[in-house]
């Protein structure tokens, strides 16, 4: 209480030459160990929410293109996400090639967005890059938007015949997944 004098200090509390007490060291060491331990425990608690092995395992699919006529498109799924496979007509290819890159929000040519030698096959995720709706325009009679490609009804994003964003809130073109032509009429996606 009022009469504590320095000689009554608990062992280890008297300052060393450099002003650091043994207890300071012990406090810092103990709190650090607990802190690091706590952080390490957090890792699995956070990581458990990431996609699990079975979700990641749905890696690749084969698509048969033989039945898709020029001007038609199909919708299929890959990794639980919808996918567009579109057979472009010569007009649509010409239309896409006629656009100058400086007009584009996310500049890419049709050639960059298709496989070499298969410019007529436009394969993209059917997931609007705005907030993830499925754009319209694959099935017959659906609204293809002002640029003749796809139209996302959720917030009005218009994509052109190369599925590039032209108007509306979406920031980027429809995503082209990795794929490979295994023959002239089959493609392996993923």
């Amino acid at each position: 209480m009022a009469t504590v004098d320095t000689n009554d200090q608990a062992p280890g509390t008297e300052p060393e030459e450099d002003g650091v007490r043994r207890r300071d060291f012990l406090n810092i060491a103990a709190v650090s160990v607990a802190g690091v331990g706590g952080a390490v425990v957090l890792l699995p608690l956070i990581n458990q929410m990431s996609p699990s092995a079975d979700v990641l395992a749905l890696s690749s699919i084969d698509v048969d293109l033989s039945a898709i006529e020029a001007g038609q498109a199909i919708k299929t799924t890959w990794r639980k996400q919808p996918l567009f496979v579109r057979h472009l007509t010569a007009d649509e290819i010409a239309e896409a090639d006629a656009v100058s890159l400086s007009e584009l929000r996310d500049p890419q040519t049709l050639a960059e967005r298709t496989a070499e030698g298969h410019k007529e096959w436009l394969i993209t995720l059917a997931v609007c890059t705005h907030l993830g709706c499925i754009p319209l325009g694959a099935a017959q009679g659906e609204n293809r938007g002002e640029y003749g490609g796809y139209f996302c009804p959720c917030h009005g994003s218009h994509y052109d015949t190369a599925a590039r964003i032209r108007k509306g809130p979406a920031p980027t073109n429809l995503v082209v997944p990795e794929y490979e032509f295994t023959s002239d009429t089959t493609v392996t996606i993923g």
């Binding site: 996609p51 929000r105 907030l131 709706c133 009804p153 509306g168 809130p169």
Partner: protein
């Protein structure tokens, strides 16, 4: 804490005395919502809405626990289990309709409660912490309601989840990783449904905890009142019980009548027919809209259509979250020492403009993403931000308040001493 003239808790019953020495819970209740809590005598019906919000939290928890007894959080059977609740479970339809409409009523009363605070300046010193905790509750409510709406696994559930988690993709660099982490997949699926159910069950209890802090912070200074004038003495207050237990009880009766009308006669009026179609990841409904209580924010999200330094999508997300985060700074944006809008002639006009503005935003948020709605939402979003960031700071300096009563009692009974007689107090 309470006013010095508060009634003291003095149990006469020997058991209650024994209890008071060991677990003074009855004392806590007495001092919080009983005779021991003096409250301004002039509160109007807008002061009912806090209690009503608490009522709806209780209704949601009770019906929610019942629903959880029959619901299955698995994407292959979730939709069917909700139909099972509707058709097979005894009184299941009632529990579900009460829960679904209870969420809407919860938001109705909370919105009125928030606008009450905005009009009467309840966010001003010394009640800033009450306001801030209230906003935390509001954010938690929105998260809870969003995840609850995903559970029936209908088309709106699924696409709502897709759109809302898609918001996180707007974050530069790490956005996609965060979205996949939140969903536990590339698109909403079983993993997402399960964690949403777990959190939907948890968050209401977190809300209950924050409500305790909210009321604790409130009970230090006590309630404000329609004049905004501080309590000066015992003549300005009446004990909570029986005065406000009775007034709140009346409000509870009125809201329950309205609630029963909705539940029994219009149970799906506020819902979307699309949510009675099972979730289909391959088909987006033509017109995705969230529940009505998110419409004003949804309109702000969609108001950004052109890139300006940052992508339009990021602006929309920032503005949407910003429109709520902004409210956390309100106590420091509106520096007028006068609390109540009643004595602030200019503030009062702008307040009503804000109310209309938020209603317009709500109307646009529910409409398709087409003109003229996009342009109207752009103008209305601009006003929303201008209201808080420009108009309020300016008028709080320039406006000349109207004369205020000297005390609550004077505001109620007038200055004339003889007016204090009950007969004359018309």
């Amino acid at each position: 804490m309470s006013f010095p003239w508060a009634e003291q808790y003095k149990p006469t019953n020997p058991f209650m005395r024994w209890m008071d020495d060991r677990l003074p819970l009855p004392r806590l209740v007495y001092n919080a919502v009983g005779k021991g809590y003096p409250v301004p005598r002039n509160l109007n019906y807008f002061w009912n809405f806090g209690v009503l919000a608490g009522l709806f939290l209780v209704i949601q928890i009770v019906t929610g626990i019942v629903l959880a007894m029959h619901y299955a959080a698995n994407s292959s059977i979730a939709f069917a289990s909700v139909e099972h609740i509707m058709r097979d479970v005894n009184s299941g339809w009632l529990m579900r309709y009460v829960h679904a409409n209870g969420a809407s009523f919860f938001f109705i009363v909370v919105y009125i409660h928030i606008f009450r605070g905005l009009y009467y300046g309840s966010y001003k010193p010394p009640r800033e912490m009450v306001w801030l905790l209230g906003l935390v509750i509001f954010l938690l409510m929105m998260a809870t309601a969003f995840m609850g709406y995903v559970l029936p696994w209908g088309q709106m559930s699924y696409w709502g989840a897709q759109v809302i988690t898609g918001l996180f993709e707007a974050i530069p660099l790490v956005g996609t990783t965060i979205k996949e982490w939140l969903l536990g997949g590339f698109a909403p699926d079983n993993a997402a449904l399960n964690r949403f159910f777990s959190l939907h069950y948890l968050l209401p209890f977190v809300i209950a905890g924050v409500i305790i802090l909210h009321i604790w912070a409130l009970h230090l200074p006590g309630s404000s009142n329609p004049t905004g004038v501080d309590v000066k003495g015992p003549q300005d207050t009446v004990p909570f019980h029986p005065y406000y237990t009775a007034k709140d009880g009346f409000g509870v009766g009125v809201i329950l009548i309205l609630f029963a009308i909705m539940v029994f006669f219009l149970p799906n009026y506020l819902g979307h027919a699309d949510n009675y179609i099972e979730a289909n990841p391959l088909s987006t409904p033509a017109h995705i809209v969230p529940e009505w209580y998110f419409w004003p924010f949804y309109a702000i999200l969609r108001a950004f259509t052109v890139d300006f330094i940052l992508p339009a999508k990021l602006w929309g997300v920032v503005a949407m979250f910003g429109s709520i985060l902004l409210l956390f700074f309100l106590p420091w944006l509106d520096k007028s020492p006068v609390r109540s809008g009643k004595y602030r002639p200019q503030f009062k006009i702008w307040f009503w403009v804000l109310v209309v503005d938020v209603l317009i935003l709500g109307w646009c948020g529910g409409a398709p993403a087409e003109e003229p709605y996009v342009m109207i939402s752009q103008l209305a979003s601009m006003y929303y931000f201008a209201h808080f960031l420009i108009i309020l700071p300016i008028i709080s300096r320039t406006e000349r308040p109207r004369p205020m009563p000297n005390s609550i009692t004077e505001a109620v009974l007038g200055t004339d001493e003889s007016a204090a007689q009950p007969a004359a107090a018309s």
